[in-house]
């Protein structure tokens, strides 16, 4: 599903965020991407949803080389995945419901299907009653859950989540991770960048650890720390 080969990302200001990273994920896999702050986790995800381009190396998603993807094909790539952004990226002038519905509108979902499915996604993250709130009227954790609802509502084959529980209490975090697991069991490939030691340690999925832009660990059934 995902394949990075010798990927290096150097930002225009000279900072080396990823250094010769190779790593791949089969369809239906669940992977935790961990590493200290600034290790390059978000950068790696950004390459996958093509918000940025690798400086060197090859990135493919769903068997398709996206390293040199023409801009014309970016919308299709992005519709084929769901992304939970570290900073949520909710549309500020749309309500919670509209933000979630938007992800279905862009894929051309028939209008009559949008409402029930969007409401169901909001239900799943526990925010159906806040459907009409604008983002600034929501708490940090609520915004984060709207972002999760938007990422899963169109049932994409690939889900990328960047720190999806950073603003959630342990209990809600746990519910969200259970949700991601369920989605994964239904066949979705899930890649979660996280700092949440508790959920990594409980779930014991494959763990890929980055440090200063390099993969330093790639372990099946891993823990947050290799020797904790």
């Amino acid at each position: 599903m995902i394949r990075l080969q010798g990927v290096t990302k150097r930002y225009p200001n000279g900072l080396l965020a990823l250094n010769d990273v190779s790593f791949s994920m089969a369809e239906g896999e669940f992977v935790f991407l961990i590493g200290p702050t600034g290790a390059g986790k978000s950068t790696l995800l950004r390459l996958l949803y093509r918000a940025d381009v690798a400086s060197r190396g090859k990135v493919s998603v769903a068997g398709r080389d996206i390293t040199r993807l023409p801009a014309r094909q970016m919308p299709a790539l992005r519709r084929s995945m769901g992304v939970v952004f570290q900073d949520f990226k909710l549309l500020p002038r749309k309500t919670a419901y509209e933000n979630v519905a938007f992800a279905m509108q862009v894929t051309g979902t028939p209008p009559e299907e949008i409402r029930p499915r969007a409401m169901q996604a909001l239900e799943v993250v526990g925010l159906a009653d806040r459907a009409d709130a604008l983002p600034w009227q929501l708490s940090g954790g609520e915004q984060q859950r709207i972002s999760i609802a938007r990422a899963i509502v169109h049932q994409p084959p690939l889900l990328l989540a960047d720190e999806p529980t950073g603003n959630l209490d342990p209990r809600t975090s746990w519910e969200i991770v259970q949700l991601l697991s369920r989605i994964n069991l239904r066949g979705t490939t899930v890649l979660v960048a996280t700092h949440n030691k508790l959920i990594v340690d409980i779930l014991r999925q494959r763990v890929v650890e980055l440090a200063a832009g390099t993969v330093v660990r790639d372990e099946d059934y891993g823990l947050y720390a290799s020797h904790a």
């Binding site: 949803y49 919308p75 299709a76 992005r78 519709r79 500020p92 299907e113």
Partner: protein, 306 residues
């Protein structure tokens, strides 16, 4: 589900797209109150001078045309010409290219006119023995710019002794009317160009203020047209609302000014409101819409990676 999607008719898709874009545009217009208000007022006040300049140019054209009508070539006829000869001459002149109308002015009538011009103080009849003035033909022109060639042609005709058309006065008149007309058009064009730039920039500013939203829409997988269409419709909407507001000022303004001008300068020819305003408002509206739309398109290019 893909099947279901494919089953929808192209018309359905189009109308859904329009409904989407329209709904989004309206929502943005509403939720973006401050920005929309600033943009609409700017576009509106920009259209005012453009409308004013167009109205001015139309009136200048009318006035200058009427002024230029007064340019005529006068052919002084040989003394003692017979009525038959005079009619033949008249017909000959009328047949010349560029001649609109020919009027015969007998020497007696000419004397009456001179007397009128001198006023009651001076009685010419008392002091002159014979009328020194010749018969003449007053030649009205199709185009005042052709005074010289027409005069030259008339001069060639037998029986015409002399031709006059106030060369210097005509030249000056034409220079001034030409200047007025060009000035009107130039003012219209300048203000139109300025309005274009201002409207584009205003819409650009509203879009720069929302670049984050555009970025997010694209990250979620919206195609460029999907991002663009609501902004374009919003531009159109802003243009339309602004034009409507401008019309609310321009129409009564012109009618009032016209009434006032009829008082102050009743002798000046002016364009009637119904001859000018409908076209003016419609073209401003179309212009506003078009500029609003293309302004959005241009401004968006910067933030859309297509």
């Amino acid at each position: 589900m893909p099947e279901q999607r494919r089953r929808r008719s192209p018309l359905g898709v189009l109308s859904a797209a329009l409904a989407y874009a329209g709904g989004e545009a309206l929502a943005a217009f509403r939720r973006n109150g401050l920005m929309s208000a600033a943009a609409v007022t700017t576009i509106m006040v920009t259209l005012l001078p453009v409308g004013g300049a167009v109205a001015l140019a139309a009136n200048l054209r009318l006035m200058t045309t009427i002024l230029e009508r007064q340019v005529q070539v006068v052919a002084y006829l040989r003394d003692g010409i017979s009525p038959q000869e005079r009619d033949r001459l008249s017909a000959q002149v009328r047949a010349l290219p560029g001649v609109r109308r020919v009027e015969f002015v007998g020497r007696d009538q000419a004397l009456v006119r001179l007397q009128d011009a001198l006023g009651e103080r001076v009685s010419l009849r008392d002091v002159i023995e014979t009328n020194p003035l010749p018969d003449s033909l007053e030649v009205a022109l199709v185009n005042p710019r052709e005074a010289r060639p027409v005069a030259d042609a008339v001069r060639q005709i037998g029986g015409v002794e002399d031709v006059a058309f106030g060369a210097q006065a005509v030249d000056r008149l034409l220079a001034v009317t030409g200047l007025l007309r060009t000035g009107g058009v130039a003012a219209g064009l300048l203000l139109g160009g300025v309005a274009l730039i201002i409207i584009m920039n205003t819409i650009r500013l509203t879009i720069i203020g929302r670049r984050q939203e555009i970025e997010i829409m694209q990250l979620v997988g919206a195609s460029p047209w999907y991002v663009r269409s609501p902004f374009m419709l919003e531009g159109v909407l802003q243009g339309l609302v602004a034009t409507a507001l401008a019309a609310l000022v321009l129409i009564p303004g012109y009618i009032l000014l016209l009434a006032r001008a009829r008082d102050v300068v009743p002798f000046l020819p002016l364009v009637h409101a119904p001859d000018l305003l409908p076209t003016l408002v419609v073209s401003l509206g179309l212009g506003g819409m078009l500029v609003g739309m293309s302004g959005s398109l241009l401004a968006l290019r910067r933030f859309l990676h297509t």
